[in-house]
Amino acid sequence: MSGADSAIDEAARTRGPEKESHMTTHATPHARTSGGPRFTSGALVTLEVRRALRNKKFLFFSVIYPALLFVIIAGGADSTTEVDGTGLALPAFMMVSMASFGALTAVLMGNSERIAKERQSGWVRQLRLTSLPGRGYVLAKTASAAVVSLPSIVVVFVTAAAVKDVRLDAWQWLALTGAIWAGSLCFAALGVAVGYSATGDAVRPVTMILYFALSLLGGLWMPTTTFPHWLQTLADWTPTHAYAALGRAIELGGAPHARDVVLLLAYFLVFAGGAAWLYRKDTLKA
């Protein structure tokens, strides 16, 4: 017998025999068949993922759109001229930009608007009346966003390889996917923070401003080398810049630079800390 089942039996015993005799027909709770400790958040994660995959508009914007943008921007470029000071040709450069952009879209948009909306509708409150641990909700939101961000990364890669003949070693493809996917967690945390700070009408503009500013300044749409010097300096410190730099370092055959990893990690800690703080504040207010 699993631990969970014996815990249920224990609970039933302590409630006493008098209560049990009332239980008739469908009132018999069915025993859980799965062994081991229960992962309560799993049920919500599954449903959130299923829901995300059902949302066509969201899927289009986060999965198809980045690949489409890649074709538009890099489509006419030749594969030999390198982007100033990067050592990468435009298609390879833009491939990482768009993969990062797609992942950013999926996790930032996926988290912020939904959380704000569901706080307002009272669904978050309703969930707090279940045995789901508080962090389970945030976990499920982030997991579902990550499930959508993975195909968005892969679709950009496939498009770049097929349309613009971008060629990398097998380890590079894998490392790229892993780095961009893992790095997107930073923005998932930002999405959670925005979802818990803004409400209703405010959340979309706030998300949009962050989304465009981060994409633009981070050089996801165009190389920051075209920016004036002061803006380049600023861009250098954005999380999206560090994020895209992870992928570019891998494309050049090396490991991501320590500075970028540390910067991204620092942003992650700030965003996650902020999200946790806002979440707790919201919980007390309920």
Partner: protein
Amino acid sequence: MSAVSFDRVTKKYGDVVAVDGLSLDLYPGETVALLGPNGAGKSSTLDLLLGLRRPDSGTVRVFGTGPREAITAGRVGAMLQSGGLMDEVTVGELVRLACDLHPRPYRVQDVLAAAGIDQIADRRVNKLSGGQEQRVRFALATAGANDLIVLDEPTTGMDVTARQAFWATMREQADRGRAVLFATHYLEEADAIADRVLVLHRGRLLADGTAAEIKARAGARKVSFDLDELRENGAALEQRLRGLPFLSTLDISGHTVRLQSTDADATVYALYGLGVHPRNLEVAGLGLEQAFVAITAAEEARSA
């Protein structure tokens, strides 16, 4: 052991005292109605009970533990007015989630059937009518073997038939030995369903007893009769009627007299003593609604 125990619980929002030193105990098997005018602290009380808010002082225990622990153990199911639903999923998926999250779940099919939504299990949650939504909320609150069910204005948005069906289901739950606590605006529901009625006013417990006791507590009974003599010398007779003992209100329209008395027997006796001939005499108890109004109005007057 009591299902719910509030011990001198106070909750303030800024200067507003929503719950003021509230102490009460609910026991397994009881069906309890929570009544009170708007702003009486009903929702705050339920929030405290469910651990959605923390009291500023005092303690809330649910089955001997904190509210959150009781919910995590699957002992409490709740249906909130403000409880939203996850959209873009089907009714069946949502109920399955509730069952999956419950430590002592029922079968999804059974929960759907008990809530009367097995026919709409494939429908998207965002395409439901208000009454159907309430049923889904009810299903979420009864997805497992809870020992306490808390309902905040559960029948809002339901038509009369749906309301009756809802209470039939609810009574079944109570018959299984669950404690049921519900807040409602419909006093006839409290009257018909609850074994115990709590009247909350300004965050304090104003009355606690059976519906009959609450009505008696309001003290008054209604007396009405027709008095033909009023046609002849109305003013003088009205003066004498106002002098009747134990009168709390008196209303004359045409030759019909309606009054409330805190001792109807004595008032009627004195009425005959006036030498008049009342016809169609009726003596009746107050409805719970009137009792509720009388109790809260008396409290308003006392604190003003």
